[in-house]
Amino acid sequence: MKRELIVRKIEHGTVIDHIPAGNALNVLRILGIRGNEGFRVAVVMNVESRKLGRKDIVKIEGRELASEEVSIIALIAPTATINIIRNYEVVYKERVKLPDIIEGIVRCSNPNCITNQPKEGARPKFRVVSRDPLLLQCTYCERYTTKEDILKQFRR
C-alpha cells in the first residue's frame, strides 16, 4: 500500500496497473501519449508487486481509455489491469486480454505483404502465436511480427 503514497489518487481518468516492469513508456507510446496533450500523466516504474515482483503503473488524469486502446495495451503489457476512475472511485476494472486473432491496430512487419499495399482493402489480421514473448503471425503472408516491430510502428 506504500506505493499509493508515491503518486496521489486521480479524480477522473485511467490507471493502468500491473504493467510488466520497464514497459510503462511503451504503453504511453502505443497510446500515442507524448506528454504535450495537456492532461496529467504519472508514470511509476519498478515498484514492488506481489504478483509480478516488479511492475510499472501509468495514471492518466482526464482521459478514459476506449476498449480498442485496451486491447493494444494487451499487446505489450499482457498482465496489465485497467481501472477507470470517476470522482476518485474505481467505476470499472478490467484485466487486459489479448484475443487469439488481432485485426487492424498493428501493421504486418513485411512490407511486401498484401495488407501493406495502400491501394488494397486487405486489413491486417494476425494469429497470436505466443503471448510472452509476443509473437503475431500474419494470416496473409505468414510473416511474424514481434513486440519490437509493433513498438517501431508507434514510434513517431
Binding site: 513485411n110 511486401n112 505483404c113 498484401i114 495488407t115 499495399q117 491501394k119 488494397e120 482493402g121 486487405a122 502465436v129 503471425q137 500474419c138 494470416t139 496473409y140 503472408c141 505468414e142 510473416r143 511474424y144
Partner: protein, 309 residues
C-alpha cells in the same frame, strides 16, 4: 481447413492438403497423362481466368494447356492489362471483375498473401500459382507427383533440398509438402544466409519433422535418394563478393555426382541458370525435364477435382 476433397476448394498453400488429398490427386494425374496430347470435355463451357500479375511463362503455359486439354476456356490477363492494373486498379477490383466472368481464378503475384486475399474477395475457387516468397502449391504438387510417379512411394526416402531456402518459394513449398511423408532424412542444404525462415522451421517443428541443415552438398550427396535443386539469386546477397564465393559450391556437376546412389533423382522446378550444368542432363539422375512434363497432367487433375462435376 477441415474441408475434405477438392471440390470448389481454394488452393492457396500446400499445407492445406493432406497426404490422402495428394494421393487422390496423383491417381487422377496419372490418368490424365493419357490425355496430354488430346482433349477431354470435363471443363466444357467453363472459363478459367489466368491472372498472372508477375510473368511466369512455364507455370502459365502449363495451366493454359491443362485448361484447354480439359475442354475449358482460358481467360488470360494480357501484359497490357497487367501493366494498367499495376498502375491503377486494385487487385481486389480486378479479382471481382474476373470473379464475375469465370469459374475459377488462377493467380500469380509478387505480393505475399495476394492469393489469400483474392480468395476472400472472390466467390469462385482461387488457385495460387505462386505468391510472395514461399507459396507455390501447384509446383509442390508437381514435384511430389514426380517422386511418387517415378519411385512409387515417398516414405522412407532421404531427400536434400538445395539452394535458396529463405526466399525460394518452390523450395519452401516442396519442403512443406514433402514433410507430410515419413522421410528417412531431410537435408536442407544452403549457405547460412539463405536458410529456412523461422516461420517455416516452426511449421516443421509442429509437424515433428527432423531436418539437418548443412552448408556443403558434398557432405550428404551420396546419401540422397532425391536432390531438389533451386537457384541462388545474386540479389539475395547484400555483398556481391559473397555471392561469387558461394555460388560455385551450390552447382551440380558430374564431379558432384561421382559417388551418388544409383537411383538418385535430381529435380529442379526450372528455369535454371547454371545451378545444374548441362553435362548432367544426359545422366540417369536428371529428372527435371520429366518433372516439367508432369506439370500439365497434375494441373489437369487439380482443375478436374476442383471444377469437374
Amino acid at each position: 481447413m477441415s474441408r475434405i476433397g477438392f471440390k470448389n476448394r481454394d488452393v492457396l498453400t500446400i499445407l492445406d492438403f493432406s497426404r490422402e488429398d495428394l494421393e487422390l490427386l496423383f491417381r487422377e494425374a496419372k490418368k490424365m497423362e493419357m490425355y496430354s496430347k488430346s482433349a477431354l470435355d470435363i471443363l466444357r463451357g467453363k472459363v478459367v481466368a489466368l491472372a498472372f500479375f508477375e510473368p511466369s511463362t512455364r507455370t502459365m503455359f502449363s495451366f493454359q494447356t491443362a485448361i484447354q486439354r480439359l475442354g475449358g476456356t482460358a481467360l488470360i490477363l494480357s501484359d497490357v492489362q497487367r501493366t494498367s492494373i499495376a498502375k491503377g486498379e486494385s487487385l481486389g477490383d480486378t479479382i471481382r471483375m474476373l470473379d464475375s466472368y469465370s469459374n475459377a481464378i488462377i493467380i500469380r503475384h509478387k505480393i505475399e498473401g495476394a492469393a489469400t486475399y483474392a480468395a476472400e474477395v472472390a466467390e469462385v475457387p482461387v488457385i495460387n500459382a505462386g505468391d510472395g516468397t514461399h507459396r507455390h502449391p501447384t509446383q509442390a504438387m508437381v514435384d511430389l507427383y514426380t517422386i511418387w510417379r517415378e519411385r512409387g512411394n515417398i516414405h522412407g526416402l532421404t531427400v536434400g533440398v538445395l539452394g535458396d531456402l529463405k526466399y525460394g518459394r518452390a523450395a519452401t513449398s516442396f519442403i512443406l509438402g514433402i514433410m507430410k511423408y515419413r522421410l528417412r532424412r531431410l537435408y536442407l542444404i544452403s549457405p547460412p544466409e539463405l536458410r529456412l525462415k523461422s516461420e517455416i522451421k516452426e511449421i516443421l517443428d509442429k509437424y515433428g519433422v527432423q531436418t539437418t541443415e548443412v552448408s556443403n552438398i558434398e557432405d550428404v550427396v551420396n546419401e540422397l535418394d532425391v536432390l531438389y535443386v533451386t537457384r541462388i539469386q545474386r540479389e539475395r546477397f547484400p555483398d556481391p563478393a559473397e555471392y561469387e564465393r558461394v555460388r560455385g559450391s551450390y552447382r551440380i556437376t558430374l564431379k558432384t555426382l561421382e559417388n551418388v546412389k544409383e537411383d538418385l533423382m535430381i529435380m529442379h522446378p526450372l528455369p535454371r541458370v547454371d545451378e545444374i550444368l548441362p553435362e548432367v542432363d544426359g545422366t540417369k539422375y536428371a529428372y527435371y525435364f520429366k518433372q516439367a512434363r508432369y506439370g500439365v497432367p497434375v494441373r489437369m487433375a487439380l482443375l478436374k477435382l476442383v471444377l469437374g462435376d
